[in-house]
Symmetry: C2
């Protein structure tokens, strides 16, 4: 496992409210399929419905505070290998690797303290040579200026 | 607020167990004052006792899943300004800015969904021109190879 994080996803109860809050702090993102992505250095901060996030990770919504750290890799085979390594290291696999709704391949584990990680191959997200993630232009309208 | 994250701190019940887990996945970090820091791209992943993390953020340990996102800035005045912006945007200030045990200045807020952010000036951590954080060499022995 390379020593890096690709996405931090915050589960939110009201996507519009959450997006407005971060926009009022000066952040600018893109929304697609009821998900907001903010580029933040070499990773992305993501806002997504808490229930969807919990279901996707196969955890209870109230567990782990509704935050998932994702580590993206360059192939489906790497997803399998990394989840196997995590299980060997003592992780609990909450969601075995499977094809995802966005055409990728991903699985989830919890570390010994219950923190949730997704290991994902997402053909829509390019990783740089150093593993940094740069969001594509989703082609959606930019948010209007926050009030 | 610049669009970036400086540290992700995971609250852990047993620091040694948590460190061993990440080392078995191949991560290499530095430990100082019962805190483990892993460089991860332009930010740091940090392992710290759950109770200390909760006390530092002035939140209940079981709230927010024991994860705090930190945004480091370049001066104490920026900490004050950013916390004021966050409060104006609807954040709950859980810990007003104050001097920290490590010689810095920091405060905490929760976003509308309860996710916890620390806004910190830490004179020991250098920020690059792009805001990326590079850990210093703490001068502590490197961890032995994990089994």
């Amino acid at each position: 496992m390379e020593q890096r994080i690709s996405l931090i996803t915050l589960g939110v109860a009201d996507l519009s409210r959450a997006r407005t809050f971060y926009e009022r702090l000066g952040w600018r993102g893109q929304e697609i399929e009821e998900t907001v992505f903010f580029q933040a250095g070499g990773l992305a901060l993501v806002l997504w419905g808490r229930e969807k996030l919990a279901a996707d990770s196969a955890i209870e919504d109230r567990d782990a505070g509704g935050i998932v750290l994702a580590h993206n890799v360059r192939s489906p085979a790497e997803v399998d290998a990394l989840l196997a390594d995590a299980a060997s290291a003592g992780a609990q696999i909450t969601q075995p690797a499977r094809e995802t709704f966005y055409g990728g391949y991903a699985g989830h584990f919890r570390d010994p303290d219950g923190h949730v990680w997704e290991i994902a191959w997402n053909p829509g997200f390019t990783l740089g040579p150093d593993g940094s993630l740069t969001l594509p232009d989703f082609g959606t309208p930019q948010a209007p200026q926050a009030p």
